[in-house]
């Protein structure tokens, strides 16, 4: 059980490491004249410095045996950093995945507290499963998703650079694809009830997130959700106990 929590911790740290590298790459956006420039120069400098501090927290998480007592502080630091970035950007930087990562950090932080155990990790797993189911369930009530026009709009006339072959796809094909997406999202959590359910769940989930990356370029969604899969595994093992 402890090894699964460690794996979850490392996976999430890896996702946060990739995010942190991207934040450092766009640090100019938080300085004078940048998109999210603050009020004064020292405030901006402090904000950009904190982006580098995230790597210190990540080292503490990647090497848990060296400073075990600092581990909760590292998660707390990353959590505060995420809130600070969201406040500065006036919205979660990458949309829905930020919410999942926020809760994953909260759950890992809580699980570090003595006596709490892995209960927060079960909560995280339920959150992951709900995120898939609810995303599909809400689409079910949208006529645009049921007839394929919403997906066609996103694929053909949106801000995303989708592959060129998409322009030749008919509305009927978009309709079938829309239903495939809705059913995949809604049924994904129920795959866990099948024998070797976790493997099936992981394979379908990875293919689903890879396709989102391929069509829309959303890499953070891929790593954010995948990082939480060990929590789902832990929830599944709960049934064996």
């Amino acid at each position: 059980m402890e090894s699964v929590v460690t794996l979850l911790s490392l996976c999430l740290a890896f996702a946060l490491y990739l995010q942190s590298c991207e934040y450092v790459a766009i640090r100019k956006e938080f300085l004078v004249g940048g998109t999210w420039a603050g009020g004064d120069v020292s405030q901006n400098a402090l904000f950009v410095s904190h982006l580098y501090l995230r790597f210190v927290f990540l080292v503490l998480i990647f090497l848990p045996n060296f400073f075990p007592s600092l581990l909760p502080w590292a998660w707390l630091g990353l959590l505060i950093s995420q809130v600070v970035i969201s406040v500065r950007v006036k919205s979660p930087f990458s949309g829905g995945v930020e919410g999942l990562i926020f809760w994953a950090q909260v759950c890992l932080l809580l699980s570090q507290i003595e006596g709490v155990g892995v209960t927060p990790i079960y909560f995280l797993a339920i959150l992951v499963l709900c995120s898939y189911f609810l995303a599909g369930f809400k689409k079910l009530f949208e006529s645009g998703w049921r007839n394929g026009t919403t997906l066609e709009g996103y694929m053909k006339k949106s801000w995303y650079r989708v592959p060129r072959f998409i322009q030749n796809i008919s509305l009927c094909q978009f309709k079938w694809t829309s239903w495939a997406i809705i059913l995949t999202q809604m049924l994904l959590p129920f795959l866990l009830f099948l024998p070797s359910g976790f493997i099936l769940f992981s394979v379908v989930g990875i293919v689903f997130h890879l396709s989102i990356f391929y069509f829309f370029g959303l890499n953070r969604f891929f790593w954010g959700w995948l990082a939480c899969y060990p929590a789902v595994y832990l929830l599944l093992r709960l049934g064996d106990i």
Binding site: A25, T35, G96, G99, F102, E142, T150, Y154, K157, N219
Partner: protein, 139 residues
């Protein structure tokens, strides 16, 4: 405060509704020259390495979130352009447009931006800004 609430209570509403996506155009204002509108915030080509590291595209999408918030502000302050110009998202968007204008001409002083559906030549403007001063960026 709203940003923290959005973080704590994610909606899981991914791609739920489709609304027409506006395109942003900027032009440098030069006395006597014809106006040439150039589209900005266009998507980048996707490579496999972007699965790991994609700062440009994530930044572009975050800037487009600013645009969506700006559209709400434009609708809220319709008929009151002076108030609109003081709103945080308008100021934020001015900096985004300034960066794009400075890429095209590092000595640019003034610019305008507009929001349109699809092709700027064929469709009606959703919004046309007043002449704005370029905001310089830290090196």
């Amino acid at each position: 405060m709203l940003s923290i609430l959005k973080l704590v209570f994610p909606s899981w509403d991914f791609f739920r509704r489709y609304e027409a996506f506006p395109v942003v155009y900027v032009t440098e204002v030069l006395p006597g020259n014809a106006t040439v509108w150039k589209p900005i915030l266009l998507p980048h080509a996707l490579k496999l390495r972007h699965l790991f590291y994609n700062p440009c595209e994530n930044l572009r999408l975050a800037k487009l979130n600013v645009l969506l918030a700006l559209i709400d502000e434009i609708n809220a302050w319709r008929g009151e352009p002076k108030k609109l110009r003081t709103t945080p998202y308008y100021q934020c968007f001015l900096r985004i447009c300034s960066q794009e204008v400075l890429i095209q001409n590092p000595n640019a002083k003034f610019f305008k931006f507009k929001l349109c559906h699809e092709n700027a030549e064929q469709s009606e403007d959703l919004f046309l800004s007043a002449e704005e001063g370029v905001i310089w960026r830290a090196l």
